[in-house]
């Protein structure tokens, strides 16, 4: 394939390439959604409650933001392997395994960053909410909603990290053609086949997709800032 081939493939709607792009987005979106729910809940919990060991948990969470993807991949691999504790699920080398790995990878990021944001919002809102007698569950909802722009940025950071990740999905997904092959593992594969031009154009497509996702989020944010403050 010559230098422009990846772009030609995408322009001509090459089904294989489109399937790879679709799978990448599906896996990463699913992971971001699940990690978003888990991470935001955990972040809100840590921001709004006091309990012994909380400080330690916050530090641990911050440290886990730097979790090496390969380690996550290896741990998920060992857990999901037929010889591992969750082997009976038969999830190794499936897209679900990749979702699990990416979820584990980005949940700490979302939790740690959202804890900080929600804590800052809480510091600002605390007196007002106490004066208004806002019940507990309503407080959490209001804080999450009012912090939504910052939280969306955090989700995007998680999405970006998951989408850019190759080590973990390679190990747990197996880079199986047409089944678990995503953008990043394709890039790694084409590089190892010495097809550097194809690898780099796949890379550019990945960057372009990330750019579009972020531009879209930015647009939505601009629109809603204008309409909701």
């Amino acid at each position: 394939m010559d230098e422009t081939s990846a772009f030609q493939l995408i322009l001509s709607g090459d089904p294989q390439l489109l399937a790879i792009v679709k799978l990448s987005l599906a896996v990463t979106l699913a992971a971001t959604l699940i990690a978003g729910v888990l991470g935001l809940s955990l972040g809100a919990c840590l921001a709004l409650t006091q309990f012994p060991g909380r400080q330690g948990l916050v530090i641990a969470l911050n440290a886990l933001m730097g979790l090496p993807p390969v380690v996550v991949g290896l741990l998920v691999f060992l857990a999901l392997s037929r010889s591992g504790p969750l082997g009976f699920l038969g999830l190794l080398f499936t897209p679900q395994a990749m979702i699990i790995a990416q979820t584990i990878l980005i949940t700490p990021i979302i939790a740690a960053l959202s804890r900080q944001v929600i804590e800052d919002f809480w510091a600002e809102y605390k007196d007002e909410f106490t004066a208004m007698d806002v019940p507990g569950a309503m407080r959490v909802r209001a804080l999450l909603w009012d912090a939504r722009f910052s939280l969306v940025t955090i989700l995007l950071a998680g999405f970006g990290r998951a989408a850019a990740e190759v080590g973990a999905v390679m190990i747990v997904g197996g880079n199986i053609e047409g089944f678990t092959r995503v953008m990043t593992t394709s890039i790694a594969l084409e590089t190892s086949k010495g097809d550097l031009p194809l690898a780099i154009s796949l890379g550019i497509i990945l960057i372009a997709i990330m750019f579009c996702v972020n531009a879209l989020a930015w647009g939505v944010r601009q629109w809603s800032v204008r309409h909701a403050g």
């Binding site: 037929r82 197996g174 880079n175 199986i176 594969l189 086949k193």
Partner: protein
């Protein structure tokens, strides 16, 4: 809160959406980077799928890792190229039976400048000795793959042991064949490669095939069904169907029919193929 519930529902849906694919009949084959990177699977698997309706999911790893994947029960079939390791795999009870499938050969690749002056030689042992004598860089896979085992055996036959000696010109990179070729090209190093990966490799720039044709460079591929007695999850019927097909005449013909620029990459040699 509605958005919250929606997120959970969407995540769960996306998570559950893919098994539809997994449920159709499929097997996992742990194989080597050489068979995948050379494009062989891209050529033969569609033929098998047409013949049997079975999807083959290939996880391409080094031979050592592929056998480990089989030992853990994470693959139904292993398709690799390191006969002694394969025989041990079967002897240890992890595999049912080993079948010869095909062969190709290893070749010594090196920089066009050829500082060790090995170009055109037919004696791989002499070539390796020259490389050692010139102290020109040599890239080793270093990943317990079939090619890595073959390379170590050749050094041993030459009476040399640069890996243990930690010779500065001997560089283990712990990566696949393609990565080893990329690295060799970048540092002007010699490297042992299987012929199929070399022929399909696209970043040859500064590299050249220097030594080939030695009988000691023979590279045999074998296929083994993972033992269901150890791992009940192994899909015996479908896995055995793949093995039966690949050593049958249609399977063997399809291997022989795979060519890049007119050059045949693998030579089928299953024991019963003549039938």
């Amino acid at each position: 809160m509605k958005a919250y519930a929606l997120a959970i529902a969407l995540g769960a849906f996306a998570f559950a959406a893919s098994p539809a694919v997994a449920q159709q009949q499929s097997i996992v084959v742990a194989s080597t980077t050489s068979t995948q990177d050379s494009g062989l699977f891209g050529h033969i698997l569609p033929l098998f799928k047409t013949a049997s309706g079975i999807d083959v999911k290939v996880v391409a790893q080094g031979t050592g890792q592929a056998l480990e994947t089989g030992r853990r029960g994470d693959a139904d079939v292993v398709f690799v190229h390191a006969k002694p390791q394969e025989e041990k795999f079967v002897a240890d009870g992890y595999g049912v039976k080993r079948f010869n499938v095909m062969y190709n050969d290893f070749v010594l690749i090196g920089p066009k400048s050829d500082p060790a002056k090995v170009r055109g030689g037919k004696d791989i042992i002499a070539a390796l000795k020259s490389v050692q004598a010139s102290a020109a860089p040599f890239v080793s896979r270093g990943d317990k793959s079939g090619t890595h085992s073959a390379e170590l055996a050749l050094w041993k036959a030459a009476g040399l042991d640069p890996a243990s000696a930690k010779a500065p010109w001997y560089r283990e990179i712990g990566q696949g064949m393609g990565a080893a070729l990329n690295t060799s090209g970048a540092m002007g190093a010699y490297v042992l490669s299987d012929r199929a990966t070399w022929l399909s490799f696209k970043n040859k720039d500064a590299l050249e095939l220097l030594v080939e044709g030695d009988a000691r460079l023979f590279n045999q591929y074998g296929i083994i069904l993972v033992n269901p007695a150890r791992h009940p999850s192994v899909k015996v019927t479908a896995g055995q169907a793949f093995i039966d097909w690949i050593i049958s005449k249609p399977g063997q013909d399809s291997i022989n029919g795979y060519k890049i620029n007119g050059a045949q990459l693998f030579f089928a040699n299953a024991d019963n193929a003549a039938r």
